[in-house]
Symmetry: C2
Subunit: 229 residues, 2 copies
DNA sequence: GATGATTTGTACGTATGTATA
DNA sequence: ATATACATACGTACAAATCAT
């Protein structure tokens, strides 16, 4: 309905991806209501595929639903966010550990190549491009763990936290620091140092989490995670 | 529709739980087709809530769907199952480690009490009751980690693997052995030995995984995970 | 506390795509 | 290869529940 040639298979699936994207990108902020009729109008479809997309997003944790009360973009408490960051640190550390053990030679070389890219982007100071390459670095590590389930869990966790990671990662000071942290991770993985890779990755993620505190405090009240229900 | 007073809020939610239960309990075996019309008739509802339940189950990974081709109970390959077991071992180990650090005094005492129950049930030799108490033990550890997100991930992973864990856990010889493995875990947690708890738990889960091989080989071809697509 | 407006939940009909003969 | 059968995908109408007045 949107484009001449349609690469999607079903409307519901297409909507799921588009709504998820809007949440992760920040177009739909945490706490925002997802009105079925409104979404149906906006995407020029009926409510049925919208509802099915919402159901799937609810199962993935990106949105919250209450019976007869509709859906809102998930707005976890600070404690829940802290827990998710902790879990993400552990999951990313696991991926890094497995990657150190299992990456093939070409995977290790590709990892180093992305790290080189990042080094160049730090100097350019373009946060958007840096973030894009940063995602590729983490993705390469997830894939290098050679465990699809673990990689999926880790990526899903990153996606759920993405709405709360925009601001810190965009601060320029973080770019160089982040690159330095990555360096430890990449070196350990390439060297096959499982425990070193895990420790370096955990440190990196926890530093990002600490930066998050600043971001939460800067959010307007309506978009801020509730202190405690 | 099933009981005089209905504790559920929506049909779709109720169906999601009931279908998930049938998959986990083994009534619906891996590979079984989930016919919308048939399920709608069986549960005496229209196809709409059935479809929404199926969408949520697909998002949780318990079933697979192909556009215009319906849904089947997930039938992961042997490699995928192995990966999920590996991830479960890591997740359970993480929970055990956190529990060793964070459990309150009463949580530790409750954990020991469940372990005592299990000891008694080994002697009774009732696999069903043993499995029920075993679930409670693991649940107590998940909760004791004091990280809801991590606990949810771990429980979801257990649920996805449950259809492949029936046979091994029911063999009587495993009961006493399983109890012995638990003993190491519980002692380490109560003692606050983080690394010991993690190691003991990882060992326990990996032993269960190794037993799984026997079960897969014993399945009829139609219910057996495909070797490789 | 009751009532009305609004939104979600459910049922059902039709179209479309896939698989089989 | 074409046609036919069948299950799914989507749209629409109605019922039920929640919130505001």
């Amino acid at each position: 309905m949107s484009l001449p040639d349609d690469p999607r298979r079903t409307l519901a699936e297409d909507l799921r991806l588009r709504i998820a994207d809007e949440i992760v990108q920040g177009t739909l902020v945490p706490g925002a209501a997802l009105d079925e009729t409104e979404l149906a109008h906006r995407f020029e479809v009926s409510r049925t595929p919208v509802r099915e997309a919402i159901r799937q997003l609810a199962a993935s944790g990106l949105i919250d639903t209450k019976p007869h009360r509709g859906a809102v973009v998930a707005r976890p408490t600070e404690a829940e966010i802290a827990g998710m960051f902790e879990a993400m640190a552990d999951l990313e550390a696991l991926c890094a550990a497995r990657a150190a053990e299992r990456m093939t030679g070409s995977e290790r070389r590709a990892l180093e190549a992305v790290q080189e890219e990042l080094r160049a982007l730090v100097h350019l100071g373009d946060p958007h491009q840096f973030l894009e390459a940063d995602e590729r670095l983490h993705d390469a590590i997830h894939a290098g763990a050679h465990n699809d389930y673990l990689a999926d869990l880790t990526r899903a966790t990153r996606a759920r936290l993405q709405p709360f990671r925009h601001a810190p990662a965009r601060e320029v000071g973080r770019l160089a620091a982040s690159h330095g942290e990555h360096e430890r991770v990449v070196v350990a993985i390439v060297r096959g140092d499982r425990d070193g890779a895990a420790a370096a990755m955990r440190d990196h993620v926890l530093i990002v989490r600490d930066d998050y505190g600043v971001y939460v405090a800067a959010l307007p009240a309506a978009e801020r995670p509730a202190p405690a229900p």
